[in-house]
Symmetry: C2
Subunit: 345 residues, 2 copies
């Protein structure tokens, strides 16, 4: 019920649908489309930023693992990521207030009705992160990497069901290819172990994919509910609840470690860089939700995965496998099909 309401309110303001429709009409009329060009530029900029930040994020993770420093508590780092995102949103807001003044759309104060849905994505991520500790009893780490590609499918399905947005047949085909291509690119000689995953392991992987997909799609619904609302205000409230739920995670998972060893135990330069990177890519995700959608987000992070692998060849002397080339080919064709599928819709 809630989602349908969000969707209905959003109908006229969806930039993605507007983009395609009006571009098509304008192309016919041969009139320069100035507003849509700005929108398209903004959409491209946030998508590129997300791709860049996600790939550098993966590279930082590889670097930190290589340096053998992964000893800090993840929950405190997650809390700091949320706190940094919150601070950056406030700083951006302060600038807006100075230049444009305080308006209905950019003021921080809110109503219970508006803010009541904001804790939901953070709560979903908390549950997902807690589940992550248990899934490793059923699936090994490389297997989990493979199963995480189920996120692609769950995001597509929930995007269709919850946001009631349609993908064309070709775009669905492209989405299945994206999932198959990403998985193929990650194949390694031990990948076949994942086929021996128990029923319980499959169930947990599917539940986690659904939680993650649901959190993403729900965030898009929240952000798009009021298109004129300043994104930094929306982010501020999302991140406030993100901080709150991460305090909960610290208490549940790392309370002893934090009390005994201190909050910043095991932090290093790489940890700080990783926190900054996570904060920036978190904001980029929000921007993509505002100006594009979850489908663009999935494509962006998938391309980032391929970029990471290629960059790692130069940075860490990685070898690219035949499977990587095949998977990259399939992902590239998927992106092409997604774009032509949009026009033919």
């Amino acid at each position: 019920m809630e989602y349908r309401r969000i969707k209905d309110q959003d109908k006229d303001g969806d930039p993605a649908i507007e983009d395609v429709e009006s571009l098509r009409v304008k192309a016919l009329l041969d009139v320069p489309p100035p507003i849509d060009k700005t929108k398209w530029k903004r959409k491209s900029a946030v998508t590129l930023a997300l791709t860049f930040l996600t790939s550098s994020q993966a590279i930082l993770i590889v670097w930190s693992k290589r340096a053998g420093r992964y000893e800090y508590s993840v929950t405190t780092a997650n809390f700091l990521v949320e706190a940094l995102k919150c601070t950056l949103s406030l700083a951006a807001l302060a600038r807006t207030w100075r230049t444009e003044g305080v308006t209905e759309d950019n003021r921080l104060s809110t109503t219970v009705d508006e803010v009541s849905v904001y804790p939901i994505p953070a709560a979903l991520y908390l549950v997902k992160n807690l589940l992550q500790y248990y899934i490793f009893a059923y699936v090994d780490a490389p297997g989990y990497q493979i199963l995480k590609n189920l996120n692609i499918i769950s995001t597509g399905v929930l995007y269709r069901i919850i946001l009631k947005k349609k993908l064309s047949e070709i775009q669905w085909a492209a989405f299945i290819l994206l999932c198959a291509g990403c998985t193929t690119a990650q194949l390694n000689p031990s990948s076949d172990h994942v086929l021996q995953t128990s029923f319980m392991g499959w169930m947990m992987a599917i539940v986690m994919a659904l939680l993650s997909g649901f959190a993403g799609v729900y965030t898009e619904a929240i952000i798009k509910k009021r298109p004129s609302r300043n994104i930094n205000v929306q982010n501020f409230w999302l991140y406030v609840f993100g901080m709150a739920f991460n305090v909960l995670a610290i208490l549940i998972q790392d309370f002893d470690a934090v009390v005994n060893k201190g909050f910043f135990h095991g932090y290093s330069l790489i940890t700080v860089l990783m926190i900054i990177n996570h904060a920036l890519s978190g904001i980029a995700v929000s921007m993509v939700m505002k100006y594009a959608d979850n489908i663009v987000k999935v494509y962006s992070t998938s391309v980032a995965m391929l970029v990471t692998a290629v960059v790692s060849v130069f940075l860490f002397n990685f070898h690219l496998s035949l499977a990587f080339f095949l998977g990259s080919t399939v992902v590239s064709v998927s992106i092409y099909l997604h774009s032509i599928g949009k026009l033919q819709r």
Copy 2:
């Protein structure tokens, strides 16, 4: 020049183009299309036959390898395959003559002009088979299996260039996916060796793919040149030259072995079954060329590869890899895209 002439003469009689066009018109007029239904049924029947024969062919090869019997000379077996195909074509013709009488289209006698192009496919296959002996100096057997998927691309490109038939953008995307999917399905832990293939190895693999693709496309051009001509007459002349060029292959490659050990040395029940199977699938290929095209042939043999793997699970206790599932998914999506790409053209 020759090809263009063939193509021009063929323009009105191409069953594939006729099919799509007239089906579309008839669908609009809502008139039952009886002739096209017959054509469609015939096309499906020959395609299914080719798929079935190709998969059982691969299973026979696995079986013969498992039985450790691969000691017969391949060139003598190839000669017998051509001879059997020739005999079967003559038998089918004799039946036609009895029921329909001898006509301009089903009489065996021919003109120099008609028959002059028939030796070309057989000659191309001979060159390709001779090259096959040399490529193993540069590429190992599993690597060669992987590189053989280049045939898919070469067939598509030569089909476009020589037969001047258009594939839609989606169908090209589907064709790239078919190649990537088939290769993915065949991945195994040692597949990465193929990335170390030398320049010379790549060149030979590409030349062999072009020879094989050219022979296939040229055969289609010959068979479609005169659509009303009885397929068994066309086959008879193709196979006569097939026999002639295989005699040449015996003389070049296996003369000593045949003289010293005899023509039928090393033959077993499996060998006989393989010869019968090769002959029948050879005839099925011709039928697919006549009533469908090279693209259908490539899809048919690719599906056969997947069917073979699944059947081998039951017959030989094979294990299917994750790569196989991913590759099969990509091939399935490719087939779907090829079919919807046709309608949207």
